[in-house]
Symmetry: C2
Subunit: 412 residues, 2 copies
């Protein structure tokens, strides 16, 4: 067993990857723990759910990423317990890991906010498996409908939540329906199928400027999405979403993109948790009272400076924490995390996106879309993935076709 300082990083998302990379030349041993053997490019999950991309376009094997980094090893296992006193992380496989420094970067999980029926009757969109489940569900619903005399609301979709994920999902669905499914199933009333987006507050993309939220809503409506804002969801039952104002919306597919909470790892620390179970951190991103424990990205919150739960805070937080670990090893004091706002973006499908850049610059329409496309390609893991995604997008763009719609056969 090595006696070098050991850093255990929980989670191989945007933040966790940056911590490990940032410690490439440090005199430490790093173990990155993740339940999956791949990193997920979360911003494009909706593309897999709407059959525009296949799974390996947005996922990259962790062992491949760290293959050349000699001080990093990978443990593919789920975390079941953390003991900050004994400095151990217990996982589903193998001996407990002993750490000198711990970094919590496990992100978030879908959250129902206590709304009845969400867990049983909606499909979350948080993981690659979730996205494939949604895609399979929609396609299976269409295949089954070809054998039914009455389709009812089977082909309808309700997307719960008007944040970037919900807006992108609704936009992607209109393209899948109009450009692909309408042609693939000429015998079905696809044109009559309704896609509804429900958002509790008064604006979609509520973290964006009001004008961009309005622009996104307008574009969604133009594409045929029923946008309902300012009405919370009261409950969900099998095939029906019940709104606070008494309305009931029936649909064969109900997607839950309305909210997340911190991953269960947060609770295992036994420290103070903030809103939605996020680990409370100080200005240097360490856990108060535990200078050797850091938390970054969606799982963490500095209550004095809350940041949006998107890729950039995780990426920048990861780089920051790697530097702080090196500083502590050198006997130096940790620094305060300075977040640089690089803007936010959301796409509403073919040609249309909204972007809010630093300095108040707002982009929308095709220019916003090109900016969105370029940025995502740059950040996608690995040249091969980038090239494949570009091929798939170009193909979709030119042909309105989508090829990633394979179904496992079923007998029912």
């Amino acid at each position: 067993m090595s006696t070098r300082h050991r850093v255990v990083v929980i989670g191989a998302g945007f933040g966790g990857l940056r911590v490990v990379r940032g410690l490439e030349d440090a005199d430490v041993d790093i173990v990155v723990v993740d339940a999956h053997n791949f990193h997920t490019f979360q911003p494009l999950l909706y593309q897999v759910a709407t059959a525009g991309l296949d799974t390996d376009d947005i996922a990259y094997p962790i062992r491949g990423i760290f293959r050349r980094q000699k001080n990093a090893t990978v443990r593919v296992a789920a975390v079941t317990a953390i003991d900050l006193e004994r400095r151990t992380v217990t996982t589903t496989r193998g001996e407990p890991l002993v750490f000198d420094t711990l970094v919590g970067a496990a992100g978030t999980v879908s959250h129902d906010f206590g709304i009845p029926g969400v867990t049983d009757h909606t499909l979350p969109l948080k993981s690659v498996a979730d996205a494939v489940t949604i895609r399979d569900h929609v396609l299976t619903t269409f295949e089954r409908a070809t054998f039914d005399d009455t389709v009812g609301h089977d082909l309808d979709v309700v997307v719960c939540g008007g944040g970037p994920t919900g807006v992108e999902m609704a936009g992607g669905l209109t393209e899948l329906y109009d450009r692909v499914l309408r042609k693939d199933y000429p015998s079905l009333p696809v044109a009559a199928a309704r896609i509804t987006l429900v958002e509790a507050v008064d604006q979609v993309l509520s973290t964006f400027d009001e004008s961009l939220g309005a622009r996104a809503e307008h574009t969604l409506r133009e594409r045929g999405v029923d946008v309902i804002t300012g009405v919370p969801i009261a409950g969900v039952d099998d095939g029906v979403v019940e709104l606070d104002d008494g309305r009931r919306i029936e649909a064969g597919t109900i997607v839950w993109a309305a909210g997340v909470r911190a991953a269960p790892v947060a609770e295992m620390l036994g420290v103070e948790l903030g809103k939605a179970g996020r680990i409370v951190v100080g200005g240097d991103l360490s856990v108060p009272g535990h200078p050797n424990v850091f938390a970054i990205g969606d799982i963490a919150v500095d209550p004095e400076r809350p940041l949006p739960q998107v890729a950039q805070p995780a990426i920048q937080g990861g780089k920051h924490v790697a530097r702080q670990i090196e500083r502590r090893l050198a006997g130096e004091r940790t620094e305060t995390f300075e977040y640089t706002d690089k803007g936010s973006m959301a796409t509403i499908g073919r040609n249309q996106a909204v972007a809010e850049l630093p300095g108040g610059l707002k982009l929308s329409g095709p220019i916003g879309w090109l900016a969105w496309l370029g940025l995502h390609l740059v950040y996608l893991m690995g040249f091969r993935n980038r090239l494949n995604v570009l091929v798939n997008w170009t193909w979709n763009y030119l042909t309105y076709d989508r090829a990633s719609r394979l179904l496992a056969p079923s007998d029912d």
Copy 2:
């Protein structure tokens, strides 16, 4: 209900697709029935099994293929019964289909030849799902091994069967092991893992010229495969292959590529079956006594002129049957099927393939490999797939990397 002549095609493989396409301008209604919603490019299944390609590179949605063909509809369902007297095909979903002309093109399924233990203890390689199962099994075995003190024979693989599938699978495995897994799992004794190919007859690729079989065997050995020829398999147990000569080969992964039999659809016809359950057809590919029933590809055999069970006989047979259906509609006599040998090919991984072309021309080594690559790209469905496959292959070729190795998380 239309009163046009109705053609039911069972199976959307190489043969079935060609029948439907060939009837594009005919005054008929065509229903193509397949349990999957996608066509599978079978010759590249081993690439998915060895993580070189992802599923959607070798599968193409059937509804997309026939979207523009107005006289064709798709039924995604499995066939459960066929009644030649009443002219009906019963499927797992929907009303029985009534046909005027029936084409059996359902291909083959894996077959154990009565060898004990094959069904329970080996992984077949006949479908996209099979290929993913093999890939997941190998990767999961490696992940588990990282937690074990003794690896034993867990990382070893036995490939049963030395036909093109077995040879290509063994070749692909050596590349996956040497180029990828050895680097991904530096703590495991990957270099010591054994890959064994077992073939009952005296030559691998026994349908090829002897010199090419010898060349393939030589190349496999060079790449570290233990090739055992001339020894039948006596039985398979959990993690061990027992040979006729008493040898026992232990392995964590046992792949069955030793043989196939006709799909169950063949038996449902209630007609004469040949070797391995294949439907006996006459010179025009119709079933004797049933001029309106045809069978093509791997599921059929003309005992007087048996053809290899590869893509070309199915493709050419499909085109032939489409023409015969039109001739019968025009009151003309059917013609005899004339098969044109376009050669056979098998790859043994990076740079190495053997090809036997018409006129006795034999290619091997890098030139054979380039011929193999070009031919497969030409025949792959759709431009998008071709481009993605080219990207993946070029990437693999230049980097020795393989990206399609995503695992579903598991708790065990």
